[in-house]
């Protein structure tokens, strides 16, 4: 054998030894990590595993001595060939680990054991100590958190729990023990000045001494382990003489928790202390604390409030409510998924706060209401509000904050650029890293990036639809997904500078308030169905039902709007589609009862995420169900089947999506699940605890119910309770109501269409009864949109007997602002009203309000004199129907009431509504034809915007007329008509002009092209002001002498009775 071979063999031998040692270490590690083993079991197994790591396992044995017990294999033989390592805790020796050979073995360089083997032994000893410590600490925590012992229980008599804790603390946390001793001594001296004499004070002195030893310049000596042991023994001996075991234990537990909170307090307390520190402290606190014990000490209360202020809101009302529900450890949910810049002082924003509080409230109440325990919140990451500032500063874009003070035109011009600017901007590296982490946490689940700004969702400011919420498919490579998230966040940030949101803030006097944008990144609730991702169903729910469809439904019964797929369709009012409405307090009373109604008013489209092209889409429900119906989780609760006019909820098995006619009804959900009950309880609990009616968004993936948003219901302008003025002169009141009143205000009603109940019931011919409906339909098309109300007897739109109510379809009333049904007592009964059932959902989606009037009720005012005696303009409007003038009365309110308008205020909280005559509700708005011609247009942002729409249009029309050369164009006159003339123009309205033309064909051609130029320019101005874009803004109707003589079409508007066109002054040159 050569040297070289020897060397090789030696090397191989060494390598084999290392491998053995490693294997042994792994085995021991596994034993140590096995929590199911008791300590003796663990040590016994280590004893048998350890020899495998040594050179001659067959003759090798191990033993462990710990706490006066020896763990060794059967047939253990003592030997001198051994290696020993002590088990040390806090510098003291508590045992040893020994390995020995039972017979002589070959020696190596410096003895019987390799260096590496000694090292292995040392490592094993250390790991054993570590494991023992960890186990003890867990015991401490466990002991502290266990329920207070029953004093009378014999089991408690020995050994006292506090003794265990003291012993453990002595070993593991001397500082804590010192603190506990000090608290105990203070407690003893305070409560037992007689029994213990001055002993506690003396002992206390010893505790304090090291820390405050007078004016000595040398640092105080720290107490040694032995001193501490002695101190604690004396202290607790003293304590046990005066206090029961249970008392001692409880006190200790409280003090320990208090001390643990101290680090957190320090972090929160420091002004300017960053979110990072607080997050760190909360995390430490969270891992130590018992989550179920009641709030135990005042500092904790203080802390909770400090944290609420820090992360959620500093509004006193909010804090008052929130602190009843939020515990310190709850903040861990937020802070563990919070993305924040270094040194952050940001909050999580309004939307996130609302949701967080609601979730915690439901959680707290789930003990007594088990239904609430099933409510989940999707996984959410929060981006702190001041990350916006960080982002802007990082990109040197702070200048954008001036944006809100620019004119709306500038804002509108610059907005598209701002979006691009922000999308092109770079995210601070820390931000990117955190987002990457968040994405790892989310995986490839589709996401929604939602705004959660500081001002959002505060009372009176819902910002609904002003700030963006963006859906992301979140598919593909990590890089793509990260970019998509950043892109979405940039876009949400940009929406702070959108004309819409700035305008919204301006209108509410919030322009000068500090705004920062927090972000919620939430997992979209749902499942994958074909190429789509969507919840089975989603919707919104309201504590107050402002649209009761039956007198049996109370306002407090609430309202749910439900749709298949993403909830966006339930949130928005829909033009062409209907969500399913239910009242959680009265789930059995549905809006639609006949199969025809049920089918007509069922949702026809669903919003989904298409994961194949990462797009948000609306799909046709019919074809969706045909293709994927079977794959929709919980589909039997969503659709009913309509066969032979029989609509019924059925089992999933019984639905044949190829052949059946499935209708989305949610009947199964209402009847065969706890859904409605759950919603009902959620609304009740949140209303009760948040002390305001709420408005929630939710979604369900077919299994779990998720809460997505929660805010005060009164934040929407539509549902604000109307003010009921008490000082209105009786003669100015047109009606009052006190039954089935909901919230709302209908200002500045200019016309009343009153169908006289007596006159109507006296009509003899069927033709006349039918004609009343037709007349209403015609008037509906003539009067200014949403500026008139309909009042009439009985059941409007009733398809049964025409006698019982005016026969109209929704199209005949769709421009009205409100429908008021009058239940006038007939000889012996009060007729039942329809509550608009026949087109109820149409009314809801168009926000046409409904109010029933009961003129014969006590205390109710019904000004029949006004309604029946003032001038009826029907004969002027529809001369052909003069015969119905006794029945249909059209009242021009300002004309009949000295320029006053009808104001309707409905206050559901008080259950009162009133319609009264008063001056225009807007401060300055007087329709164009009633005000002196003003030469000056005011700045857009100084005015209420709805007035501005017609103001500048009227101004421009005047300028146009001034410059219109009558001679050159052959024009005899120009008139303003339409919505600008009536002062009702909206952001997208045309300027309607009537041009009285009397010239040659060539002149007409030039006139048209001249007007065309104006039209394009005006459209551009309108776009800048409102964001509504169109080809041209002018709608010029050319009329001739013949037209005027024949009063055809637009010519009839000149000198018309209602809404006459206003002549515009042209330059003095005349044809």
């Amino acid at each position: 054998m050569t040297d070289r071979d020897n060397a090789n063999e030696h090397l191989l031998g060494l390598l084999q030894e290392r491998a053995k040692e490693l294997n042994c270490l792994y085995r021991i590690d596994a034993i140590l990590n096995d929590e199911s083993l008791s300590l003796p079991e663990m040590l016994e197994r280590i004893v048998s595993a350890l020899p495998s790591g040594f050179r001659f396992p067959d003759v090798c044995q191990a033993r462990i001595v710990y706490q006066n017990r020896t763990y060794q294999p059967a047939g253990f033989l003592r030997s001198d060939i051994s290696a020993v390592c002590d088990l040390k805790v806090e510098g003291g020796v508590v045992g040893l680990v020994e390995v020995l050979y039972t017979r002589e073995v070959p020696m190596v360089e410096d003895g019987y054991f390799y260096d590496k083997e000694r090292q292995l032994l040392k490592i094993v000893a250390e790991r054993i100590v570590q494991t023992i410590m960890v186990r003890r600490m867990k015991q401490v925590a466990c002991a502290l958190n266990s329920p207070p012992p029953d004093v009378g229980t014999p089991a408690w008599a020995s050994p006292p729990q506090w003794k265990v804790v003291v012993a453990l603390l002595l070993e593991t946390d001397p500082d804590m023990l010192t603190y506990v001793c000090r608290k105990m001594l203070q407690h003893l001296s305070a409560c037992s000045s007689n029994a213990g004499g001055n002993r506690p004070a003396v002992l206390n002195q010893r505790v304090i001494q090291p820390f405050c030893s007078g004016e000595v310049n040398a640092p105080g000596a720290r107490m040694t382990g032995q001193e501490l042991a002695q101190l604690s023994e004396e202290t607790f001996t003293l304590a046990s003489q005066q206090m029961s075991d249970a008392e001692i234990f409880m006190s200790m537990r409280r003090w320990i928790q208090e001390e643990k909170a101290n680090s957190l307090i320090t972090a929160v307390e420091r002004i300017g202390g960053s979110v990072g520190e607080v997050v760190e402290a909360i995390s430490r606190y969270y891992h130590m604390l018992d989550r179920h014990s009641p709030s135990a000490f005042p500092a904790e209360r203080w802390l909770e409030v400090a944290l609420i202020r820090r992360f959620l809101s500093d509004k006193p009302d909010f804090i008052r409510i929130a602190r009843r529900f939020l515990k310190i450890h709850d903040f861990y949910d937020v802070t563990s998924r919070l993305i924040y810049p270094s040194g952050s002082c940001g909050k999580i924003g309004g939307k996130a706060t609302g949701l967080f509080l609601a979730q915690k409230i439901l959680d707290r109440r789930s003990g007594e209401i088990p239904l609430l325990a099933s409510v989940k919140v999707p996984k959410t990451w929060y981006v702190a509000t001041d990350e916006t500032t960080e982002f802007l500063q990082y990109n040197r874009l702070q200048g954008l904050n001036e944006q809100q003070y620019k004119s709306l035109e500038e804002i509108r011009i610059e907005y598209p650029q701002i979006i691009q600017l922000l999308k092109a901007a770079h995210f601070p590296p820390g931000f990117v890293k955190s987002l990457a982490m968040a994405l790892d946490d989310f995986g490839q689940a589709p996401l929604i990036v939602r705004s959660s700004s500081v001002l959002e969702d505060q009372a009176g400011a819902a910002f609904s639809g002003k700030y963006k919420s963006l859906f992301l498919g979140n598919q593909g490579s990590k890089k793509d997904r990260l970019e998509a998230v950043m892109d979405a966040i940039a876009e949400v940030y940009a929406s702070m500078y959108s004309p819409d949101s700035i305008q919204y803030r301006a209108e509410r006097g919030m322009l000068d308030l500090h705004e920062e944008m927090g972000i919620l990144i939430q997992e979209v609730v749902g499942t994958r169905i074909g190429p789509y991702f969507m919840p089975s169903f989603a919707g919104v729910a309201f504590s107050n039902n402002e649209y009761c469809w039956s007198p049996r439904i109370k306002r407090e019964d609430g309202l749910v709007r439900l749709v298949l797929g993403l909830g966006s369709r339930a949130v928005d009012r829909l033009n062409n589609d209907f969500p399913i409405l239910m009242s959680p307090g009265q789930p059995e009373l549905r809006v639609n009862t006949t199969p025809d109604e049920i089918k007509y008013y069922s949702p026809k489209q669903a919003d989904v995420l298409n994961l194949e092209n990462n797009a948000f889409e609306s799909v046709d429900i019919d074809s969706f169900l045909r293709n994927y119906g079977d794959a929709v989780p919980d589909v039997q609760h969503i659709v009913s089947v309509c066969r032979d006019g029989y609509v019924r909820a059925t089992s999933a098995l019984d639905i044949d999506f190829d052949r059946d006619d499935p209708v989305v009804t949610f009947d199964g959900l209402a009847r065969n699940s706890v859904f409605i009950k759950t919603i009902d309880r959620i609304l009740q609990v949140l209303r009760e605890e948040m002390q305001t009616p709420v408005d929630i968004e939710f979604a369900c993936d077919g299994k779990q119910f998720y809460l997505l948003q929660c805010r005060s219901q009164n934040s929407g302008p539509e549902s604000l309770p109307g003010l009921i003025p008490k000082d209105i002169e009786r003669s100015n009141i047109i009606f009052s109501a006190s039954r089935h009143v909901s919230n709302g205000t209908i200002p500045d009603v200019s016309h009343i269409v009153y169908v006289d109940p007596d006159g109507y019931s006296e009509l003899q011919s069927l033709d006349d009864l039918v004609a009343v409906g037709r007349v209403v339909g015609m008037i509906n098309a003539m009067l200014p949109k949403r500026r008139f109300i309909l009042m009439g007897p009985g059941r409007w739109g009733s398809r049964g007997d025409v006698k019982l109510g005016v026969q109209v379809s929704y199209a005949d009333i769709n421009n009205a602002a409100a429908l008021l049904e009058i239940a006038k007592r007939k000889s012996n009964y009060v007729p039942e009203l329809s509550f608009g059932t026949h087109f109820f959902q149409d009314l809801v989606e168009a926000n046409i309000r409904y109010l029933p009037l009961y003129p014969d009720d006590e205390g109710i005012i019904f000004n029949e004199a006004f309604l029946t005696r003032v001038t009826n303009i029907l004969p002027r409007l529809l001369p052909d129907y003069v015969r119905l003038a006794q029945v249909v009365r059209v009242i021009d309110v300002p004309e009949s009431a000295d320029g006053k308008l009808l104001q309707i205020s409905m206050n559901g909280e008080m259950g009162d509504a009133i319609g009264y005559l008063a001056a225009h509700a807007g401060r300055q708005a007087v329709p164009r034809r009633q005000r002196p011609v003003s030469g000056k247009a005011e700045r857009a942002d100084e005015l209420r915007f709805d007035q501005e729409f017609w103001r500048w249009r009227a101004y421009m029309a005047e300028r146009l007329a001034e410059r219109l050369d009558p001679v050159a164009f052959g024009v005899k006159g120009a008139y303003l008509t339409g919505s600008v003339n009536s002062g009702t123009a909206g952001p997208g309205s045309d300027i309607d002009l009537i041009i009285h033309f009397q010239g040659e064909a060539e002149q007409l051609r030039r006139l048209k092209s001249w007007l065309e130029g104006w039209s394009i320019a005006l459209a551009q101005i309108n776009y800048l002001k409102t964001g509504c874009s169109c080809e041209g803004l002018l709608d010029a109707h050319i009329v001739t002498d013949d037209d005027i003589a024949a009063k055809t079409s637009f010519a009839a508007k000149i000198d018309a009775i209602t809404d006459p066109a206003t002549p515009l002054k042209m330059s003095d040159r005349q044809t």
């Binding site: 059995e588 639609n592 199969p595 032979d644 069927l766 025409v802 006698k803 000889s827 039942e832």
Partner: protein, 428 residues
């Protein structure tokens, strides 16, 4: 209040007018101008909230000389006895004109189903049957769905009746779903019925359907089946009007060389609105909603709602129009009817034109009574036969007596009932 419009007095006036034409004796007149039997019942219903509400119910059997009374059950919050009386009388005439062996009845409960939960509605249905089960039955009086009642209610009522009488009596009620005693062909019945009769009318007027054109108001069930059967006879549907759900107004789709009903159904959404864009793409024109009435066509088929042809728009009817087939209920107001009569337009009055529905109900009852159910073809074949002979009898009379079709229809119907009461010896 006495001056107010009352459907019952209107129905009586109409009857009196026809009675005068036929020359009915006083006894028969007094018997037929009012219902034979009226039942007014109270129905206590235990409500979901624990309270009890009492509902007023009716069943009125106007006449059963020709067979068991037949007629719907209405749930209506402001139902009046007079409305139910008038409707029961109309049912007698309607069954008589198609010559099916049934009398006329109607019933109802004063209630608004919108204010009742489904279980309350069930208790109400069962309560109604409990109160009336002794005076109704497959051989006595057969209810059917009507305003705000549907198959669901019918099955509850049937079940209660069967519980009380201890047997299976599917012929007690009609309007049941297929498989639960319902009849096939029900969906097509009314629309097809309009065209079976139109086909006969064209024969009588010596017009070849293949050269004819028609405009249809509406694009619901009746209009669709009428349109497709008319096309298969070789006729050309030039225009249909349709409701636009988003614009909240109706519009007319026109294609002078003929609309393809199947194509239109293909581009119609679930609200029954035809897609304008697709219609334009298919070469159709889109016109205002009431333009269907002014088309230069041979045939007008109003198949949407009542009171659509009024004194205001009757003048817009093209001179070319020869036939008005009333697929809807009461599409022509009395004033407009006068003008149409003057113009000499051949009218197929509503209560014959849309009698396909009630005829199919009768077939359902026949099938239920025998517990043997026919194929759809069988149902439609019999429907054709029944309506064709009913029309034939009517036309013969109108021709012989030179009467306006609508008047002739009442005459023939009432006369059949008169004969029945006389043959039974109720009146001598």
């Amino acid at each position: 209040m006495e001056r107010a419009y009352n459907p019952y007095t209107t129905a009586q006036a109409q009857f009196d007018k026809v009675a005068a034409i036929i020359g009915i004796d006083d006894g028969t007149r007094d018997l037929l101008r009012q219902p034979l039997r009226e039942f007014h019942v109270l129905i206590p219903v235990h409500m979901d909230d624990g309270s009890t509400r009492i509902f007023n119910g009716f069943r009125i059997q106007h006449n059963d000389a020709r067979g068991p009374a037949k007629g719907g059950v209405r749930f209506h919050p402001q139902e009046t006895v007079d409305t139910v009386r008038a409707l029961s009388m109309w049912m007698t005439w309607k069954c008589a004109i198609v010559d099916i062996p049934l009398g006329g009845g109607k019933g109802g409960v004063i209630c608004d189903p919108h204010n009742l939960s489904e279980s309350e509605q069930e208790r109400l249905c069962r309560g109604w049957v409990r109160q009336l089960s002794r005076v109704m039955g497959p051989c006595v009086d057969v209810p059917a769905p009507d305003v705000m009642t549907n198959a669901k209610h019918m099955l509850w009522m049937l079940d209660e009746f069967e519980v009380i009488h201890g047997g299976k009596y599917p012929g007690f009620i009609t309007g049941k779903p297929v498989g639960m005693g319902g009849s096939l062909g029900r969906t097509e019945a009314t629309g097809y019925g309009v065209i079976y009769i139109l086909r006969e009318a064209l024969k009588d007027l010596g017009i070849d359907p293949r050269g004819t054109t028609a405009a249809i108001q509406g694009f619901g069930n009746v209009a669709r089946y009428a349109g497709s059967l008319y096309s298969s006879l070789g006729g050309t549907v030039v225009a249909v009007s349709c409701w636009d759900n988003s614009a909240k107004q109706s519009f007319t789709i026109r294609k002078k060389d003929g609309l393809d009903t199947a194509m239109l159904i293909g581009i119609t959404n679930s609200y029954g609105t035809i897609d304008r864009e697709k219609a334009l793409a298919a070469g159709c024109e889109v016109l205002p909603g009431d333009d269907w009435i002014s088309q230069d066509v041979d045939i007008l088929i109003p198949a949407a709602m009542e009171s659509q042809i009024t004194a205001d728009n009757v003048g817009r009817i093209s001179k070319q129009v020869r036939i008005l087939a009333e697929g809807a209920n009461g599409p022509t107001t009395p004033d407009a009817d006068e003008r149409i009569k003057e113009r000499g337009i051949f009218v197929i009055p509503d209560f014959l034109a849309n009698a396909g529905g009630v005829t199919c109900s009768y077939f359902e009852q026949v099938q239920s009574n025998t517990n043997f159910f026919w194929e759809k073809e069988e149902v439609l074949r019999r429907l054709d036969g029944q309506l064709t002979s009913a029309y034939r009898a009517l036309y013969d009379l109108a021709l012989k007596r030179k009467m306006y079709m609508r008047d002739a229809a009442y005459v023939i119907a009432i006369n059949r009932v008169v004969q029945a009461v006389k043959m039974r010896g109720w009146v001598r």
